[in-house]
């Protein structure tokens, strides 16, 4: 059936192509521009999720975010991919993707591409979406940048600390420090960056369970400076680029180290402190033989370690995962066709003292992309990938058809059919089957881990009404089959905050449907004023019970409004308003009504229902000293509403953020 579908996808392209054009821009993406990032008050990398409503997110601690891109939820596992300047840094571990563990700082981001449909991008099939972050880079000269930021959340006791109204301290949200050297000489560029980020975990909803497992004995520097549990991340990266007449390459190496990282381990339903290390080195190389032929290769190596940090459970993950990613791609133009042909290899290996049946496995893929003009004003792109591993195969295909109705309107139809192997996610369950017995007392699997299937359609109408107004409306449908979902119910001991879990059951044949609609308006009524209005709705229907329960934890409605005004180059003011509808978390139904904090006459309780979120942010940006100093001051959640994303997660109250960026050396 899959083969037939794939052939059907390709066939019309082969027989109907009558003209040839190179259409590199068949990537279906949302782009968050640098100017929008600059005028939005972002504190951490994960704050880019606040600028798109095609990504549904939730977080427990505010540092690790789960995301679902454009109705492509990987449900309880995070399988979306993060690239940094086209490099795959290996953040996907244990069903988590923490974008904040990238070696950069939010101030270094130039723009963000979000791939919102399954298709081939840089040799990767984006089953669950992909985010490619581009860092700032000068084309000429040398720039030295130093940045410092801090955030302070409200809700401390203040002078009431010594009265009957006393309450625990909330403490600061965290801080960030970064240093970047960007040096350019002719066609060569070198960027060296160092970053530190701290994030405290003192919210009352999670304080007890975090305090109970956290051993303070070996806090670094002066223990009194860090009296509270916090995540600390230090990182360094080096990016070398060369652009020649025929060839160009981009080499990236990075090291991210969190001496103390609180990993939310889903099978236990709680945070475990670990030492988290991510190492990476990779090259992307392009060589132009002629206008009709280009060869690209990408060679990436990442190493991901979860080492022991002293904890009261004496829990040790003993996990060192390696990934080698190789991709060779030939971009060509033959007769009336253009496209790409490529193949790739991913080797995943695990170093651990657990006795494994096999310590590595390989995934091979071969793929092609064709694009051509189907008929006048209608272009089509076909992506096809054949993937095999451990004797199993999967097929993935996408068709993107664009109809240029006239100079103002464009209609796009995107169809995709994806099969996905368990091996592709480097998942905890795969390694558990091979003997990585970290989950104790184990789990039950109902059925077999077959290939999961996803069928998607997207219909997108883009209209540039005039120079001041752009409108896009899209409708999307997703069908999931043979997805594996975990059923697990959590309880909390309200005395000490400890979490217990019911036995883990995995159901491997879950299915369901998602239907959604998205509306986006971008308005520039004046050059100095930009407004964004976005609305997204999605809902499931005709789904299995577990699928349905899981989807209930995703908000149905997201509404965004963003206004920014820059009367002069050196000053801007902005506001963002966001509404997110309520969510229901079936697996936390047993915690409903349990108290986690009592303050005078207030009893604060856990709930399996997350109320709708109304968030308004406001901020200003001002440059000083002939653009040598940039300052940002912004308030998040101005009206101090109760904002929570997860039943056992933190509440994000009114918070003040400050950012200062210095450009002490700037020579062109």
């Amino acid at each position: 059936m899959s083969f037939i579908f794939s052939i059907l996808l390709i066939f019309p392209g082969l027989i109907l192509a009558n003209d040839f054009q190179v259409h590199d821009d068949f990537i279906e993406r949302e782009v968050i521009t640098g100017s929008r990032i600059e005028n939005s008050g972002l504190f951490r990398i994960s704050d880019i999720f606040l600028l798109t409503n095609k990504v549904r997110v939730n977080t427990i601690d505010g540092f690790t975010w789960s995301a679902s891109i454009n109705g492509l939820p990987s449900f309880q596992r995070q399988s979306w991919i993060v690239l940094l300047n086209g490099h795959r840094l290996g953040l996907n571990t244990f069903s988590n993707v923490n974008i904040n563990m990238l070696p950069i700082n939010i101030t270094q981001i130039d723009s963000v591409e979000i791939i919102t449909v399954p298709q081939i991008y840089n040799g990767i099939f984006t089953d669950y979406g992909l985010i490619n972050i581009h860092t700032k880079s000068k084309s000429q000269g040398t720039v030295l940048t130093f940045s410092q930021s801090a955030g302070n959340e409200t809700g401390d006791p203040g002078p009431y600390a010594y009265t009957k109204y006393k309450s625990p301290n909330v403490e600061i949200v965290g801080s960030g420090t970064s240093f970047v050297l960007d040096a350019n000489n002719n066609n060569n560029s070198i960027i060296l960056g160092m970053n530190y980020e701290g994030h405290t975990l003192t919210d009352w909803a999670m304080e007890k369970r975090v305090q109970n497992i956290y051993s303070r004995s070996d806090d670094w520097i002066i223990p009194e400076l860090y009296p509270n549990p916090s995540i600390e991340k230090t990182s360094i990266f080096l990016n070398l680029k060369r652009t020649g007449i025929r060839n160009n390459y981009n080499i990236l190496t990075s090291y991210t180290h969190s001496n103390k990282y609180f990993l939310f381990f889903q099978p236990m339903g709680r945070e475990i402190p670990i030492e988290y290390i991510i190492k990476y080195v990779g090259i992307n190389y392009y060589y132009n033989f002629s206008e009709k032929l280009e060869i690209a290769y990408r060679l990436h190596y990442s190493n991901n370690q979860f080492n022991k940090y002293p904890n009261t459970l004496d829990m040790e993950f003993d996990w060192e995962s390696n990934n080698v990613h190789v991709n060779i791609e030939n971009k060509f133009r033959v007769s009336s066709y253009s496209g790409k042909f490529g193949f790739g290899l991913d080797r995943y290996s695990l170093n651990t003292d657990y006795e494994l049946d096999k310590s590595f496995y390989d995934i091979y893929n071969i793929y092609f992309q064709f694009n051509h003009e189907l008929i006048e004003n209608i272009n089509q792109n076909i992506d096809f990938m054949y993937l095999f591993s451990n004797g199993k195969r999967s097929i993935k295909g996408t068709s993107i058809t664009k109809w240029f109705i006239n100079s103002k309107h464009k209609l796009k139809l995107i169809l995709s059919k994806t099969e996905r192997l368990l091996e592709e996610g480097n998942s905890l369950w795969y390694w558990s089957n091979l003997g990585y017995n970290i989950i104790n007392p184990g789990y039950t699997i109902n059925g077999d881990f077959n290939k999961s299937n996803i069928f998607t359609t997207d219909l997108v109408l883009e209209s540039k009404i005039n120079e001041k107004l752009t409108v896009a409306v899209s409708n999307y449908y997703r069908r999931f089959d043979n997805s594996y979902l975990v059923e697990q119910f959590y309880n909390i001991n309200s005395e000490n905050g400890n979490i217990t879990s019911s036995p883990i059951e995995i159901f491997t044949n879950q299915g369901g449907n998602i239907l959604g609609v998205n509306l986006s308006l971008i308005s520039n009524i004046k050059p100095s004023i930009t407004q964004y209005f976005q609305y997204d709705y999605q809902n499931e229907f005709y789904s299995d019970d577990l699928f349905n329960n899981t989807m209930e934890s995703f908000p149905k409605h997201i509404l965004d409004y963003h206004f920014s005004y820059s009367p002069i180059e050196d000053f801007s003011i902005w506001t963002k308003c966001r509404y997110i509808s309520s969510t229901q978390w079936e697996n936390y139904k047993n915690i409903n009504g349990l108290a986690y904090q009592i303050i005078h006459q207030d009893t604060l309780e856990y709930s399996d229902t997350i109320e709708g979120i109304n968030m308004i942010d406001i901020g200003i940006q001002k440059w000083f000293y002939k653009r040598k100093i940039k300052s940002n001051m912004f308030l998040r959640n101005v009206f101090n509403q109760s904002i929570r994303y997860h039943p056992i997660g933190a509440s994000f109250d009114l918070t003040l953020f400050l950012q200062i960026t210095l450009f002490p050396y700037n020579i062109y």
Partner: protein, 197 residues
Amino acid sequence: MKKIIFLCLILFPNKGLIGSVNNNPFEYFSLSIELLKNVNNNDLHHFYQPQNGLKTSFSSPFYWGKIQASLGLIPFNGKERNYIDFIVVQPNLKWIKPLYTSSKMSFAIGGGVGLFVFSFSDLDDGFLFYNWASVTESELSSSYLSQIQYFINKKMSLTFNINIDRVYTYKPINLINISMGIGYINKTPDWIKLILQ
């Protein structure tokens, strides 16, 4: 809903706000020193007795209206021994909109944000660099201002302010302060303009 409408009125584009950008900000400055008195009475005052305080501020024309940076100090004494005395150190940044200006008088309103740093004075530890967090508490505040200035001459003025501050502690603190003082007005030195622009 009322809050959203209020915010819309302030922020959303309107001709008055967008059309009248001052192209020569920071042209002059006003430096003032004022005596400060807390005049309201609420839950905090059941535990603490405010004393007279001091405030100094720096104001200058901005792209619209004026911008003001200020620093206030007010001591609070505990009414019982358990309630530890503290001094409020209040750095603040406000935007001020003059509503009426003549050669002798001006009337303005404004609002802004700042920090309330509660520095507790009687803790056994005393204040040291590494334990600052345990002897001080700081919290975000918003403030609203009404200001009357009487210009004695081109360089000097008398200032009267009413400030309403809201401190976003878990149990919010509302303070109404009045202040009176004297201001000095002068052309902003070029080196300050260089930094600010």
